[in-house]
Amino acid sequence: MTAPVRSAASLRPEQVELACRFGSLSLPHPIMTASGCFAYGDKFAPFFDLRRIAGLSTKGISPRPRPGNPLPRICETAAGMLNSIGLENVGAQAFLSEKLPWLAELGISVWVNFFGEDMDSYVECARMLDAGHDRGIDVLEMNISCPNIKKGGIEFGTVPAVAHELTKRCVQATRIPIVVKLSPNAADLPAMAQAVAEAGAVGVSLINTITGMAIDVRTRQPRLATTYGGLSGPAIKPIALRMIHQVHRAMPQLPICGMGGITTGEDALEFLMAGASCVQVGTANFAQPAIGPSIRDELRDLMAELGIARPADVIGCIRPVPPEPAWASEAPEPGSAS
């Protein structure tokens, strides 16, 4: 029965200035779409004008095209889904020639998610994609949590020293700023963030999917051909918020692009308050292709209602719950108590 706190100073929606920064990058508002959940953007054109999102992260790109995993590749779980797509993609060359020109025309922020099969091929991919510098690529988002990569894949995402080395070499290979997408399977996220920041990453994205599995009790087989897959959707939101808050508290200056289960403007605001400078919407695009713009609108309306003029005013703003009065075995006398 707690009455909603009516904000002292609500704003009109048009008084809210959604523009924000991710490090040195300017965005018209904080809502982007996430890698692997937005393909190369073009498939969404029938549903809405893509200029209504602040930017997008492409499907993960590797130096050469990859066919992807056997099926089944996806299955639903409670308030989420598992996927094991296998990082299927057209390859860096085809991406640059066939996909990038169309994306660059849009004028929104283009983040190219990329990965390699081993350290050298990560570096090779960064070097190939460098051709997109000044041709529309704003950020290379380096995915270091590839459960589907056999060799070294685990260490890239969970051992800070390895992530540091990988980041350093990729940063040297390209003029495009690198944002590292961290793996939630790491035990110590702040250590990972620090390792990649010191290696020259301009920011971090988190979180990627969390490794999970599901079983078909009738066939006695895993529901994914690869046995394990990545869990995404609202189910993981509390874990994502915690990790973002941990990293932001440890490194308040490091820009964070937050994601994991966002489906509403209120979700997005939670991520900003936990410490994200901007957010990406992933799984929710499948059920509602135009959800990016509606989350933007919901965020604006909610910020207006709560009297928040700009995203920058609330990034990492949360404060601890105030302490209770000290316990005593006798209640204080009436006059003194309250």
Binding site: M1, T2, A3, A78, A79, P234, P322, E324, P325, W327, A328, S329, E330, A331, P332, P334, G335, A337, S338
Partner: protein, 274 residues
């Protein structure tokens, strides 16, 4: 006070009545013999859940508004978040899972020669006080209780005709002044407390409503040295004392008591609020 053991049972929605102000009365019918809620005491509550899968996962607590001996009972609610929105959308015939009666700390009944009970209500805090007044009236003690009821505007004050019918004296307040005093329920409460102090009249305060209201009522009760009882709400996962989620900070033997088992009604002085 010994209350019957809670049970979990299935009920069906038999009526959904929209009041003004967005309030709903949801009437349900469960097993009749014995009817688990037959002997419900004002302040006791039930945990309700529809067949809505795995999200939201937990049931929601609702004070019992009324219950007869034949398995029919009702709650009053307002669409607030996910749980209440689903309950407000329910239609007759739909099944509900009910756990109850829950809560062992309840409102004390008025007595012919005891203090006058001021029933201070706000928002969805009305139900336990409504039941308290109904019971008082049934016992011929309608004059021993008075309703003090505050809301945003006149539509925020519901079921007034019930109190009228029972002959319960009412002191109303609305923030916009559209009915009763302009302001919070503390306006008529202050006046009533002052009048009693002047007349040397013995009072008791029983309150249920939004936490900010309860904080204000608690402070006034303490200031006027009037025994004050608050029906509290804490987030509840279980409602029967096992999750330990619904802790209420108290003074006394231990730092916390549990809203669902030791409450929901607590003596204001014992509540450790700033």
């Amino acid at each position: 006070m010994v209350t019957p053991s809670p049970s979990q049972f299935r009920a069906r929605v038999v009526d959904t009545r929209a009041l003004v102000g967005g309030y709903f009365v949801l009437s349900m019918e469960g097993p009749a013999q014995p009817a688990p809620l037959a002997a419900v005491i004002p302040g006791q509550f039930v945990m309700l859940r529809g067949e809505w899968g795995r999200d939201p996962i937990n049931p929601r607590a609702f004070s019992v508004l009324d219950s007869d001996g034949d398995g029919r009972f009702s709650v009053m609610l307002k669409a607030y978040g996910r749980g209440t929105a689903r309950l407000c959308a329910m239609r007759s015939g739909e099944p509900v899972t009910v756990t109850g009666p829950l809560g062992q700390g309840t409102f004390v009944s008025p007595s012919a020669h005891g203090p006058t009970q001021l029933l201070v209500a706000g928002g969805v805090g009305l139900p336990p006080l409504h039941l308290q007044a109904r019971r008082a009236a049934a016992a011929g003690l309608a004059s021993r209780v008075e309703l003090l009821y505050g809301g945003r505007d006149r539509d925020d004050l519901v079921l007034l005709t019930d109190f009228e019918g029972w002959g319960v004296r009412m002191h109303l307040a609305t923030e916009d002044g559209s009915l009763g005093d302009r302001g919070f329920v503390t306006v008529p409460l202050q006046r009533r407390l002052q009048a009693a102090a002047d007349a040397g009249e013995a009072l008791q305060i029983l309150a249920c409503g939004p936490t900010p209201m309860l904080r204000a009522v608690r402070a006034m009760g303490l200031r006027h040295h009037v025994p004050t009882f608050l029906c509290l709400e804490e987030e509840m996962a279980c409602g029967f004392g096992v999750c330990l989620g619904c802790a209420v900070p108290v003074y006394g033997d231990k730092p916390y008591e549990y809203c669902c088992t030791e409450g929901p009604v607590f003596e204001a002085r014992r509540v450790r609020w700033s």
